[in-house]
Symmetry: none
Subunit: 125 residues, 2 copies
Amino acid sequence: MDIIISNSSDTPIFKQIEDAIYEAICNDDLKENEMLPSVRALANDLKISFLTVKRAYDELEASGFIKTIPGKGSFVAPKNLDLIKEEKLKQIQDLLEQVYQISKVSNISTKEVQELFQIIFEENE
Amino acid sequence: MDIIISNSSDTPIFKQIEDAIYEAICNDDLKENEMLPSVRALANDLKISFLTVKRAYDELEASGFIKTIPGKGSFVAPKNLDLIKEEKLKQIQDLLEQVYQISKVSNISTKEVQELFQIIFEENE
DNA sequence: TCCACTGTTATATTTACTATATAACAGTTA
DNA sequence: TAACTGTTATATAGTAAATATAACAGTGGA
């Protein structure tokens, strides 16, 4: 698992770690029940304090994505992919609703929004 | 002009003020060349420091939405409709970037997102 | 000119958050 | 027992947000 963190970022380090692991779990780069690096090991790799890693793990556990067992380690929680996907679709729907509201209030045509959509989704392929 | 701020919010107070005034300008609740409340007056209303209000006004001036004249006050800048539209397009772009990120992380196809897009933009016509 | 308003600037302080270092404690397993 | 695991407590440093206070300067009416 390769995590890249930036201390010049406006996102806190613990959050960057949290996001990276969350993404890895969603992409199945981290499988169910797979053990995560120990807080100290990952802290060493990233040259940061183990407390910062622990903070990230704590957040992930609170969200239900990993399970930590004292003395053993932290493990990817059994996941419900359908549930995650449903939740994600809902998030996307909410964001698109916001887009619609802004475009409507500001007289920005559907066509213009669609063009932005195309650009963003194509340039990242 | 009624601005509601929350000190329990994760958004800084100066940013909440900034956003509220920005929205008021975009919605034409604040007209061109209209005088804004003085930093001290608004600070009194909101029971906060005038420095926090000044911070918000400074940001708005830097963005070109208001114009401050020492000794006189702060005024809504002559509206640059292009500027506002650019801002709105930027907001939409940011939201679409979020949509893209979520779809990418969650392995949701562009096609699925496009379908959601169609539904939302069509059902409101 | 005086006064009451306007914005500006400088300094110091408080609070919260992020991140760190260090040490000690406890569970797991070979 | 040794070497891992996670946990907890304490103290410290840096930063950002917000505050309080005071002094300074421009505007405009009485």
